[in-house]
Each structure stands twice: as structure tokens, then as C-alpha cells.
């Protein structure tokens, strides 16, 4: 079964926001809200678009909107991946 890991998600979050390695994005970010991380709707949808391209899947805007933390998003993506495999 295909699965997205936290490392992959962090890489895609970084790329989508244009953050280089100098910008800290590790440790306990899984349960930190996207708001606290500064991921506004543009950055979040940008990340989701990158995931959709890389994994050839579609995630509805509603599902994205419901993801308040990286952990939520990880679950959402992995549910979608389980459904497509």
C-alpha cells in the first residue's frame, strides 16, 4: 500500500512555501496547527496540489479545509492513497 511519510510531507510543505533548510520545520510540528506554522490557504493548497501531482490523486477542497494540522493532512492523504491503491 502506498503511503506518504512525515518526511515526505515536510519536504512538500517546504517546497510549496519556498522554505529552505534555514527555516525550521521539524520536531513536533505534526500537531502544530497550520495557522501557527503560517501556512495560509494559498500555501496549504499549493502543498496539496504538489501531493496530488506526485501521487496522482485528487483530494477535495472540503477535505483539505478540514485538515488543521500536518497530522490531519497526513491522515487525509493516506486515506485517499488507500482508496486508490
Amino acid at each position: 500500500m502506498r503511503e506518504i511519510t512525515i518526511d515526505t510531507l515536510v519536504r512538500l510543505l517546504r517546497e510549496s512555501a519556498g522554505e529552505d533548510e534555514s527555516v525550521q520545520l521539524d520536531g513536533d510540528i505534526l500537531d502544530t496547527t497550520f495557522e501557527a506554522l503560517g501556512y495560509d490557504s494559498l500555501a496549504l493548497f499549493n502543498t496539496v496540489s504538489a501531493i496530488e501531482r506526485e501521487y496522482s490523486l485528487e483530494i477535495s477542497e472540503e477535505e483539505v479545509g478540514g485538515a488543521k494540522t500536518p497530522a490531519d493532512l497526513l491522515n487525509t492523504v493516506n486515506r485517499a492513497l488507500a482508496g486508490t491503491s
Binding site: 510549496s16 512555501a17 519556498g18 522554505e19 534555514s22 527555516v23 525550521q24 520545520l25 495557522e35 501557527a36 506554522l37 503560517g38 501556512y39 495560509d40 490557504s41 494559498l42 500555501a43 493548497f45 499549493n46 496540489s49 501531482r53
Partner: protein, 359 residues
């Protein structure tokens, strides 16, 4: 041991931050905010009454996203929040405004009086009324990546990069139908975009004529060097005395791109700060949270007003407590940031003088 206090920077948002009910709960509840808003509306004359009605009403006569509503209201709310914070004893070390928010910063820093600001906002609205329909979109790519995607036809129509808000948050502005056409092309290329709530374009060649008209509105307006440093979104550096005295510097801003990230990065590279968003919503503080200095905890962010109509007063009060705890004694009270540099006069005198002249 208490944390050492960090100098406070006020961030003033611009077009796009407006929303129904913005800061309305503070009106009538925060005395300094209320008095300053009323002072501004009075200085705007009859138009001030209409502005106030559209701000407070459930069914604005003119939509809030229109330049004639969003611009003066964002100016007034940003300025009034700045006054409210300084009335509480806060002494900001610097001011940073996005678009019309930069004019709120200039007024707070004493570059022009509130009475003159009211005239300038009227001139800005009149100038923007000459601009045809258009708008702005935020794209999730770097400016360098976006530039080549704006075709010759779109450029000829006045479409251009209007703001660089973050490494991959670039705003494009322009007239319709070209902006919508470009948005479709970007979507087809896999570029994520979001519409910025605006009925007109800003900060692009399509509003050069409007910027020239706006410059005429500065005739007879005395300008003074800022008494509190303003971090310029034109250069990323502090506004110089010569720039502050130049009407062209302030009016030209209307057609120049907003280099928000450069200004923010300049500030945060110079030192660790507590950033306070003095305006509706959290758009600027969200961007700041992505900066290395803030993410690492060297700089912090306080965003007092959520982008909702309800709950803003409670959020504001909670943020004020958080702010007191963060800045401690350091940025509160007399002489905190150097003798005479940021005393009451720096943020208060010009305003009172303005109200006496204007009313």
C-alpha cells in the same frame, strides 16, 4: 528569569485584509480606537458618514472590497489600532505597512497629520475611481517563476507582479479580462492561485495614471521625516528623511510593487522583534510565521484580530494580555527605547494638531 523583551514592530495590512464586521466589536468598546475612528470619519466629512455606515452596516451601499471602501477603512482601522496600542503605553521600534497600510504607518510616525491623511484618502479614492475593473490574484510561486508566465499581451494591458509577500507568495494585479485570462493559464500550468478580494488592480502599470492623480492630492500637505522608523516596502530599508518629504514617494507607491518580504526580512535580519498585526485578520502575521527568525522562536508574532466579525473583542483582549507578557516592561512605558525617541509626542502630537486644524 524573565525573557529579555524584544522591540515591537507594528504590521499594517492593506487591500485584501478587509472583511465584513472587521474590528467592529472594538468600536464603542475600546475608547481610544472609537475616538480615533470617529475623528477620522468627521475629518472625511459627508463621505466619512457613508464610510462609517458601510463599515457598520449589514448591507453596505458600496461593497467593502471596492477601493473606495477598503482603502480608507483599512487606513483608519490600522491607524486607530496603532493609536490604541500606543495609548496603552506601547512604544513601537518600527512600523511596517502593506500598501495602504504603509500610509497608516506614515501617519502614525507623524509624516502627515490625520487631517491631511483624510484628504489624502479622499484623493486616493478619487484617483482609484478612474481605474477600470480589475483585481489581484495571489500565486503560490516565486516572483522569478511568475514573471515569464505573464505574456506580452497581458503586460501591454498593464498586468504585472504587484507584491512579493513571501518566497512563494506572489501577487499579480491587472485589469479585466486579462487578469482572469492569466489566472486560467496559470491554473492550466498547475500554478495554485487565490483571488485577493479587490475590485480594482493596485501596484501595477494599470494604475500609473491613478498614482499621478493621487500625487496631485499631496499639494499643500506638509510632510515631515518619520519620528518612528518605517520599514519601506519599496526598498526593504527604513524610509529616509528625503523619501518621507517626497510626495512622489508616497503617491508612486500606488503603482509600484509591494516588496513586503524584503521589508520583513530586513527587519528580522537586523534583530529579533515581536511583530504585532495592527489591522483586521492575520494575513501579515501568517506570512511572518514562515520566516526563519519567527519559526525558530527568535522573533514572535501577536495577531490580535481574527478575520471574523464575531469574537474580535475577546481575541483583542486576550492578545493584549499576551503582548504584555511578551514584551514585559521593556517596550511599555516611558523611555523604554531611548530617551525622547518614541515619546508620546512621536505618535500623538501630530494627530492632535491635525484634529484641531481639521475640525
Amino acid at each position: 528569569m524573565p525573557e529579555p523583551s524584544r522591540p515591537v514592530v507594528l504590521l499594517f495590512p492593506g487591500q485584501g485584509a478587509q472583511h465584513p464586521g472587521m474590528a467592529v466589536e472594538l468600536y464603542g468598546a475600546e475608547p481610544e480606537f472609537t475616538a480615533t475612528m470617529d475623528e477620522f470619519f468627521a475629518l472625511m466629512g459627508e463621505e466619512g458618514g457613508r464610510l462609517r455606515a458601510d463599515w457598520l452596516g449589514d448591507h453596505p451601499r458600496v461593497p467593502l472590497d471596492d477601493a473606495s471602501r477598503a482603502q480608507p477603512l483599512l487606513f483608519a482601522i490600522g491607524y486607530a489600532l496603532g493609536r490604541t496600542l500606543t495609548a496603552r503605553g506601547l512604544r513601537p521600534a518600527a512600523l511596517l505597512g502593506h500598501s495602504v497600510g504603509e500610509l497608516a504607518a506614515a501617519c502614525l510616525a507623524g509624516v502627515f497629520t490625520l487631517a491631511d491623511a483624510a484628504r489624502l484618502m479622499a484623493a486616493r479614492s478619487q484617483a482609484m475611481a478612474t481605474v477600470g475593473p480589475g483585481g489581484m490574484i495571489a500565486a503560490g510561486v516565486a516572483a522569478d517563476d511568475l514573471e515569464p508566465r505573464i505574456g506580452a499581451r497581458h503586460r501591454a494591458a498593464g498586468v504585472a507582479v504587484a507584491a512579493i509577500n513571501a518566497p512563494r507568495h506572489t501577487v499579480v494585479a491587472g485589469p479585466e479580462p486579462w487578469l482572469t485570462e492569466l489566472t486560467r493559464e496559470l491554473a492550466a500550468d498547475g500554478v495554485t492561485t487565490r483571488r485577493v478580494p479587490s475590485r480594482q488592480p493596485f501596484h501595477c502599470p494599470a494604475v500609473r495614471g491613478a498614482a499621478e492623480l493621487f500625487a496631485v492630492g499631496f499639494a499643500g500637505v506638509p510632510l515631515a521625516p518619520p519620528r518612528v522608523p518605517i520599514r519601506s516596502t519599496a526598498t526593504g530599508l527604513p524610509v529616509s528623511g528625503a523619501q518621507a518629504l517626497s510626495p512622489g514617494f508616497w503617491a508612486g507607491q500606488l503603482a509600484r510593487p509591494v516588496l513586503f518580504w524584503a521589508a520583513l526580512d530586513g527587519l528580522l535580519t537586523d534583530g529579533d522583534h515581536t511583530l504585532v498585526e495592527a489591522g483586521p485578520g492575520r494575513s501579515l502575521s501568517m506570512l511572518a510565521r514562515r520566516h526563519a527568525a519567527v519559526r525558530s522562536g527568535r522573533g514572535t508574532v501577536v495577531a490580535p484580530l481574527p478575520a471574523s466579525a464575531e469574537g474580535t473583542l475577546a481575541a483583542w483582549k486576550a492578545a493584549m494580555e499576551e503582548l504584555d507578557a511578551q514584551v514585559g516592561e521593556g517596550a511599555l512605558g516611558e523611555g523604554a527605547l531611548g530617551e525622547g525617541a518614541l515619546g508620546e509626542g512621536a505618535l500623538g502630537e501630530g494627530v492632535r494638531r491635525g484634529s484641531v486644524e481639521g475640525v
